[in-house]
């Protein structure tokens, strides 16, 4: 049981729980204490240190901004105004707070307010759904489209929109890059003839991809009034992120171990069987590494692309907060930053776990 849970934890990349479990069962106490110290205590310590540095940094910036404000009031409107300003800032009145890097505490507050905001919006949505339920049923009978909630999306809604976009983009990358990668890997001629294309397009910035996709999609959807921003952003994400998979797949396919090719020859496998039973399985590890990179690139460029394409999601959330400049906007942006980072990390972990499931390890084979 114990070994099993440790195995599972290691498998999903949560291996740092291992010493705690071993310790709890009284196994090699001294050795596991050391491991626990290294794997658990030190990381916690570094998080604490990070918060301290952040806090004092924010404090420092805050003071600079505060002094500047008071100074400005002094030169513009005299001593009384300057004193009023100082009192106003120190009272914590949101009307006159300096606008700078928020402190950890402010970010936490912003996080809580985003959550409660989400709760309120969800309640509104449910209420709305109940209200229009009867009407919608009627409309459905008449063959009309149901009335939808069109209020402001909450932060959590934005997260799911972003995940949807990134998932669509990732699938697009998968369905383009893997088949093409296989073809390129199989044919040396093809590989060398389109190599220039890959080398040139691979380093192109997400922004340029977006504009390119925009030009094309805009023309193609000229006569329909559907919202093309989702289409534009997911296609751009797919195009930006597919290169790692493309290159890795073609490399994996073209560098299959000669021994396996010899086996295929001696067994006289047909071309199709050679591809599906020998070449693909043996290049799976590389293909999956490519897919992992693709997913993390997709998530990274998504924010920038959403921001530019004005499609809903975390990117536009960040952009709107930046534009609206309310006193807790900066804190909300930092909350978004952490959320983006943590989701990116989780996505990578999920891919890693799937990879371990579907690929073989050779291990002194």
């Amino acid at each position: 049981m114990k070994d099993r849970s440790i195995h599972v934890l290691n498998f999903v990349g949560l291996g740092f729980f291992e010493p705690a479990i071993r310790l709890a069962t009284g196994e090699e106490v001294k050795k596991n204490l050391v491991v626990l110290f290294k794997k658990v205590f030190l990381p916690i310590l570094s998080v604490g240190l990070f918060l301290v540095v952040w806090h004092s940094g924010a404090r420092y910036l805050y003071n600079i901004e505060k002094d500047a404000r008071i100074e400005k009031a002094l030169t513009d409107r005299g001593e009384v105004a300057a004193n009023e300003m100082r009192v106003c800032i120190e009272s914590g009145d949101i009307g006159c707070q300096p606008n700078t890097l928020p402190s950890p505490a402010q970010v936490w507050t912003a996080y809580e307010s985003l959550l409660s905001d989400h709760r309120i919006i969800s309640e509104k949505k449910t209420a709305f759904a109940e209200k229009v339920a009867a009407t919608n049923a009627q409309r459905e009978e008449q063959g009309l489209v149901a009335i939808k909630y069109t209020g402001r999306p909450s932060f959590v809604d934005q997260i799911f929109t972003s995940l949807k976009t990134v998932f669509a983009g990732f699938l697009l990358a998968l369905f383009i890059a893997v088949p093409i990668g296989i073809m390129l890997g199989l044919s040396e001629t093809l590989r060398s003839s389109v190599n220039w294309l890959i080398q040139i397009f691979k380093p192109v910035s997400p922004v340029v991809w977006l504009l390119l996709v925009f030009m094309i999609v805009k023309t193609l959807t000229r006569n329909s009034d559907t919202d093309s921003s989702f289409i534009i952003s997911f296609i751009s994400v797919g195009l930006c992120s597919m290169w790692a998979t493309l290159v890795n797949t073609s490399m994996g396919v073209s560098s299959v171990d000669k021994d396996y090719i010899n086996v295929a020859k001696v067994l006289q496998l047909s071309v199709g069987q050679k591809v599906f039973k020998i070449i693909l399985p043996s290049s799976f590890p590389l293909i999956f590494t490519g897919l992992r990179i693709t997913l993390s690139v997709a998530w990274m460029v998504l924010i920038a692309i959403e921001l530019l394409a004005q499609s809903p999601g975390l990117g536009s959330f960040v952009w709107e907060e930046f534009q609206n400049g309310a006193n807790d906007s900066n804190s909300k942006i930092i909350v978004a930053m952490f959320v983006i980072g943590i989701i990116g990390f989780l996505l990578d972990r999920i891919m890693l776990t799937i990879q371990k499931f579907v690929t073989f390890t050779e291990e002194n084979a």
């Binding site: 021994d259 396996y260 010899n262 086996v263 020859k265 001696v266 067994l267 006289q268 496998l269 039973k277 020998i278 399985p281 043996s282 799976f284 690929t359 073989f360 390890t361 050779e362 291990e363 002194n364 084979a365």
Partner: protein, 287 residues
């Protein structure tokens, strides 16, 4: 007409300045049902020779004939046991063997195929490990799977490229007996590549040394008329065995020295390393 025949076969690798002739003027005849062993130093071209017979590579000069027909590519009639097992690491034992059975017996029903796979795995005592992946098996077990895979296709000839070189002495002895047992059962023609003279004498009807390359050629053949089944311990006291063993080893040491003195004469050897961990050549001179 011999069952397998190599006529003036030569093979080179590389291009331009780096082109080296690995095998030169190889002539070999193997009769049906015969068990021939070829002993030689690492890197002398033994794998190349086996690949030529299996049809994985084509000779530059000369021809390779099988049942009187030129070999044009691999065929199910010639089963190969590769030097480094070459099991597919993503398939378990059953599927590694099953893949071969499926290819060799396309018309067989699924049920018959499964039965055949199970029977062959049973034959090498691997039934308990049938669902394991290659990485979960020991070297000896892997080589058993490799042997089974080749035999399950019912080849007419079985070509073995140092099948036991990477194994420890005990496993080696066991597998030697198992291969002999299988060979004895339906008297398949067999070609064994080895770097162990004892192994050759124990198993083969004829031993032919391959001189060290480049431009390796076959040396004089040694007929082994010892009665089968041969017992390893009993052989140690057999006069004929001792004589045979000594003369083969003497010959090998002699050509080995020739090679060494060639080196002193600043003979340029190709600086190419064999892909696998070099199998220890020491066995040969000290065993």
């Amino acid at each position: 007409m011999a069952y397998i025949e190599l006529r003036n076969v030569s093979k080179s690798f590389g291009v331009g300045k780096y082109r080296t002739k690995v095998l030169s003027n190889i002539n070999l005849e193997i009769e049906e049902g015969e068990f021939v062993a070829i002993v030689g130093f690492t890197g002398s071209g033994k794998t190349t020779l086996i690949n030529l017979i299996s049809g994985l590579i084509m000779p530059d000069e000369g021809e390779v004939l099988f049942k009187g027909e030129p070999v044009t590519g691999p065929s199910h009639e010639r089963g190969v046991i590769f030097q480094n097992y070459s099991l597919l690491p993503w398939l378990n034992v059953k599927n590694n063997v099953g893949m071969a059975v499926k290819e060799a017996f396309k018309k067989m029903s699924r049920k018959e195929r499964v039965k055949r796979v199970e029977d062959y795995v049973e034959m090498v005592n691997l039934s308990p490990a049938i669902h394991k992946l290659p990485k979960e098996l020991s070297g000896g077990m892997r080589q058993r799977v490799s042997v089974t895979r080749a035999l399950s296709m019912s080849p007419d000839v079985i070509l073995m490229d140092e099948p036991l070189s990477a194994l420890d002495a005990l496993t080696r002895g066991n597998l030697q007996q198992e291969i002999l047992k299988i060979w004895n059962k339906d008297k398949k023609t067999a070609l064994l590549i080895t770097n162990d003279v004892d192994e050759g004498i124990l198993m083969a009807d004829r031993i032919i040394p391959l001189k060290p390359g480049p431009k390796a050629t076959l040396g004089p053949e040694y007929k082994i008329n010892l009665e089968r089944p041969r017992d390893k311990t009993a052989l140690n006291h057999n006069e004929e065995y001792k004589k045979l063993r000594n003369s083969i080893i003497e010959y090998l040491i002699q050509i080995g020295e020739q090679r060494a003195s060639k080196k002193e004469n600043n003979y340029i050897l190709p600086d190419i390393k064999p892909k696998m961990k070099p199998t220890s050549f020491r066995r040969l001179s000290f065993s």
